[in-house]
Every structure is written in C-alpha cells, then in structure tokens.
C-alpha cells in the first residue's frame, strides 16, 4: 500500500498546502510518494524530498505542466495510478480542479475534502456546509482523495532527503492554454496558514473602510479575510472569501467584524481555535459560535482596538 501525493507549486516553491496531505497520507501508509509535475521545478523537488515521512519523489519535468492545467496534469497521475492504493492532493482550487479528472479517468469515485481517516478505505468529510459529517467507505481499488488542510497538521521539512526518480511525462494536450494570473498582492500572511485572521463583512460598508480592519490586522500580524457579501460588494478581492465555497481556515484566533455568521460563512471558520466577534446586533448568529462577543459599532471599536494594542505594547508594527 503506497500513497501518491500531487504536489502543488509554482515551479519554484512547494505550496504549504501540500504538507497537510503528507500528514494525512502518513496515517494511511508508511510509504508516501510525492509527484512533482512541473517545468524546471528543481527547488520544488528538493523541498518535497526533505519533507519528513516522504519516501520518494517522482519528478515529471515538462513545459506542459508549467501552469498546472488539469488537462495536462491528470494523464501523468492516471499513468502512475495503478501502482498506488491512494492518490491525494490538498483540497485547494488546484487540487479540486485536477483530482476529479484523475478519478474519472481511473473510473473511481473521488472522496472530497476528507477531514478524518478511519481506516484505509473509510473516511469522514463535511457536507451541507459543514453542518453534517458524513462517513463513507470506498469500494474502489484506487482511492482518489482531496484533503481538508485544516484537519491535518502540516508535515515539516527535516534534514533527511528522500530519493528522487525522474518519470516520463506526457505532452501538452493543447486543450487549454494559460493566459494570466492576477494575484492580489499582499504583504500580510497567507489566509490559510495565518495564526490570526481578522475578517470583515458587509458591516464594513465599503472597501475604503477596510483600512480599519487593516490597522488591527497589521498590529496583530494577521491575515485579512472577508464574507461573501464583502467580496460581492467589491470591498476586497475574491480570494479573501472564507466559507463553504471560499477558503476553509482554522487559525488560533478568528476575529469576525461586521459579519452576521451565515452557515455558509461558519463552514469556513468554525474550526478556529478561538473566535471573537464584533457586531452591533446582539442577535447575530456569529455570537453563537464566538468565544468572545462584543456588541458594538465596529466604526467605534476598531480604532479603539488598534489604539489599545499599541498601549499594551502588543503591536507587531
């Protein structure tokens, strides 16, 4: 029984997301391989080989893999698939895009977004926006899985090196062509790996008002998140969205500001260690999941919060 993990990367850096799949894979087998399908992705291969617990790195080097297009990446996983009992990737937009294509080509079901592993063929996963945990057993020969990052710690990079094997890749299918990636540049920590997140909702009223959130986030060294309403209203970019259909996060502290706490939002953050909420409506559902609730006008208390952090010498800036 050997697990193959599809690495997520940009040809120069291995994404932290992949580390979470390694931890999940090690709960299934002691033999865990990572596939790096990339274009001159040497540094990625190096990091992958140093992850604790990884026993082999497969490297498929071809320009077809440069942008991680599903049509190009799926065939290599399919050709390697028969040697593995499980094929995994983390449930990021990359993993969600590629893995079902692999599963269908192997004629097996996919287990999406697993949050716990019962045994080698039985897994739990959240459904209905996290209101339900469903435990399913797979009857397929190969289990194709995406892993919920927040449910498994990130594996760490150690000082050992697993062997690397070059594998023959496939050519570009030509079915789709990458045009561009517009990244929302930010100096702040990445949402899915941040220790503290400050999120703003519709209550912020405008994009400009997010400076109030930024002031607090910067002092805490926090990432910034948002509700769907804040994203749809154009206050912040789409990749800030936390929730059922956005990002799933589980920081040590999640501070929700002007967010009502709809189930679709809670689905993305209710596994945070501590939740604090600021909302002027004491009936807001967010208070049902918050460890600490402050019923107040955010426009008054966010500046106070920033000031008080400075006063207590807690500011990181």
């Amino acid at each position: 029984m050997t697990v193959l993990i599809l690495a997520e990367h940009d040809n120069s850096e291995l994404k932290r997301a992949t580390m979470h799949s390694v931890t999940a894979a090690l709960l299934i087998s002691e033999d865990v391989h990572i596939l790096v399908a990339g274009n001159d992705a040497g540094p990625v291969v190096k990091t992958a080989s140093e992850i604790q617990g990884v026993t082999k790195v497969l490297y498929a080097n071809n320009s077809a893999y440069e942008h991680g297009l599903a049509e190009n990446v799926a065939p290599i996983l399919v050709s390697l698939g028969d040697s593995y009992s499980h094929i995994m990737a983390t449930a990021t937009t990359f993993g969600k895009n590629v893995m079902p294509r692999v599963a269908a080509l192997l004629d097996v079901a996919q287990l999406s977004d697993i949050s716990s592993i019962i045994d080698q063929e039985t897994f739990s996963r959240p459904t209905y926006a996290g209101n339900v945990i469903t435990t399913v057993k797979s009857t397929d020969k190969i289990k194709v899985i995406t892993v919920r990052a927040t449910a498994f710690e990130a594996a760490i990079v150690g000082d050992q090196t697993a062997p690397t094997e070059e594998v023959k890749g496939n050519e570009d299918t030509g079915l789709s062509v990458f045009k561009k990636l517009e990244v929302s540049a930010s100096e702040r920590p990445e949402l899915t790996s941040a220790d503290i997140i400050v999120s703003g909702g519709r209550g912020m009223q405008s994009g400009e008002n997010f400076v109030l959130v930024e002031a607090v986030a910067d002092r805490l060294g926090a990432a910034i998140g948002a509700s769907r309403a804040a994203v749809d209203s154009g206050f912040v970019p789409n990749d800030y969205q936390v929730g059922q259909t956005g990002k799933v996060v589980a920081p040590t502290l999640y501070l929700a500001v002007g967010i009502s706490g709809a189930i679709q939002h809670l689905a993305g953050m209710k596994d945070s260690k501590f939740i604090a909420a600021i909302n002027k409506d004491e009936e807001a559902p967010i208070f049902q999941v918050a460890d600490y609730g402050l019923v107040a006008d955010l426009f008054k208390v966010l500046p106070e919060l920033a000031e008080e952090l400075d006063k207590r010498g807690l500011s990181k800036t």
């Binding site: 599903a70 049509e71 799926a74 937009t93 990359f94 969600k96 895009n97 079902p100 294509r101 599963a103 269908a104 080509l105 004629d107 097996v108 079901a109 996919q110 999406s112 039985t122 996963r125 959240p126 209905y128 945990i133 469903t134 435990t135 399913v136 797979s138 079915l175 789709s176 062509v177 990458f178 045009k179 561009k180 990636l181 517009e182 990244v183 929302s184 970019p237 789409n238 990749d239 259909t245 990002k247 040590t252 502290l253 679709q264 260690k273 501590f274 939740i275 604090a276 049902q288 999941v289 460890d291 600490y292 609730g293 402050l294 107040a296 208390v301 106070e304 919060l305 008080e308 807690l314």
Partner: protein
C-alpha cells in the same frame, strides 16, 4: 451553438439541516427544496449567451427522482428551451452523474456544457471535472467570467491566489462560481410558458450507464457543537480575555 446545463435539486440553502436520529441520512421530510445556487448561475449564464445571440439552444438536464422535474421547470422558466430528465430513484454520486451527462452529450452534441462548481448538499465539487475527463474535453472550473469566441472560450477562474485566465478549446465543460452573474427570478408569464416546454425522460438503462454507488455511506452525524462563549462589555475586556485567558495575542 447548443448549450447544455446540468441542474441539481438540493435542499434550499436557507434550511437548517437536521440529521435523522438513526444517523443514516439528513432529514428530508417536509424540507424546502430548490435549485442548487451554482446551477442557477449556470442556467443564467446559458440564457444570457442565448440572449446575446451566441447560442440558439439551451437544454437543461437533471438526474434524479420525479421531483427533479420541478427544478427543470425552474430552468425552463428562466429561459432554457427544453429539459431532459434522467429518471432514477437510486442515489447518484458524481461519477455516475458525469457518465449520465456524457451519454446525453453524445446524443445532443452541445459545444459547451455548464455546471455548478459544487452542489451545496454533498459539497463534492467533482461532476464538471469528471464529465470533462470522460469526454476528453477541456475544462474551465470556478468561472467568474466567460467570453465565447470562435472555437474558444476565454474564462476567468476564481483560484486561491487570485484570478486566473485560461483559454479553452471548444467543446468545453465550464463550472460556475458565485460571481459569474446574478441569476434572474423567473417572471410569472415565463413560469406559465415553461409549463408548455418539453421535458424528455430517459433512464440510466436506456443510456447504458451503470450508476451503482461506489461510496457507501456508513454514518451521517452532526459535528460537535462549539460551546457558546461570553459577551464582553468593552474593547479592554476583549483584549484582557484574548491576552490572559485565550493567550492568543
């Protein structure tokens, strides 16, 4: 151009989900059902393509028991031209649905198939990608903008790092994200008109598709509840708690 839209009937997104006491399933008795929100976005997009003259024929497909015809009627009221109901009472999983949809694609030969990115009940986020695989077509998932041109579609995708734009060769499978459009409400005259539109009924057998579930559900349960916390009176008290009790700042 012919467009195919796959629509799923799901529990309405506003409904509070309850699990049956024997932990076998979610309680569906007397629960309000609706079209999966991402499928509404898919129908809206297809209808707009038709309205702008890019497409002539919009076919809505849904698989499931008799009640899915209500969902198909909603799609028809929004502007789809006709419906296909793949009738079965068996539990359908994404791979089976993708196979059924492939069989319909083989018959209808559309140039674009639009699906929701995710069904809000099973939260699988699989069917579109699987369909693209089975057809050996290009796929553009999580679309927030689609520009159709001759033989290609330029699609902007909502990805973790921002917005990615790809150009896919037609025929293609596209799955919708939330910000692609705002679905319309069907007007009363259109709801009346939709009653006269045709819904074709097919069975998995007729389409020679094996829909046997591959995943066996062992247990359905509610997640552990969070203990409800305390209401603090001021910013100072909030910081005291975060600093001294939670020790997170």
């Amino acid at each position: 151009m012919k467009l195919l839209v796959a629509v799923k009937r799901t529990i309405d997104y506003n409904v509070k989900i309850r699990v049956k006491s024997d932990n076998t399933d979610v309680d569906m008795a007397n629960v309000k059902m609706a079209m999966n929100p991402f499928c509404e976005i898919a129908v809206e997009e297809a209808v707009r393509m038709k309205e702008s003259g890019l497409a002539e024929d919009v076919i809505a497909v849904s698989a499931g028991p008799d009640q899915v015809q209500e969902t198909l009627r909603t799609a028809l009221a929004m502007g789809a031209d006709r419906g296909i109901h793949i009738k079965t009472d068996i539990e359908l999983q994404p791979l089976a649905i993708a196979k059924l949809l492939k069989a319909i694609v083989d018959i209808e030969q559309p140039e674009v198939v639009i699906l929701g990115k995710q069904a809000i009940d099973d939260d699988s986020n699989q069917t579109g990608q699987m369909l693209a695989a089975l057809l050996n077509w290009s796929q553009a998932t999580f679309a927030s903008n689609i520009v159709l041109s001759d033989g290609n579609a330029e699609v902007t995708r909502e990805v973790d790092g921002g917005l990615e734009t790809i150009s896919v060769k037609l025929p293609a499978v596209i799955t919708t994200d939330l910000r692609l459009n705002e679905p319309r409400y069907a007007s009363l005259p259109n709801i009346m008109k939709a009653k006269k539109k045709a819904i074709d009924i097919k069975s998995p057998d007729e389409l020679s598709v094996d829909v046997e579930p591959r995943l066996i559900t062992l247990k359905v349960e509610e997640p552990p509840k969070r203990e409800s916390g305390v209401i603090v009176e001021s910013v100072t008290e909030l910081l005291d708690k975060l600093q001294n009790e939670a020790k997170v700042i």
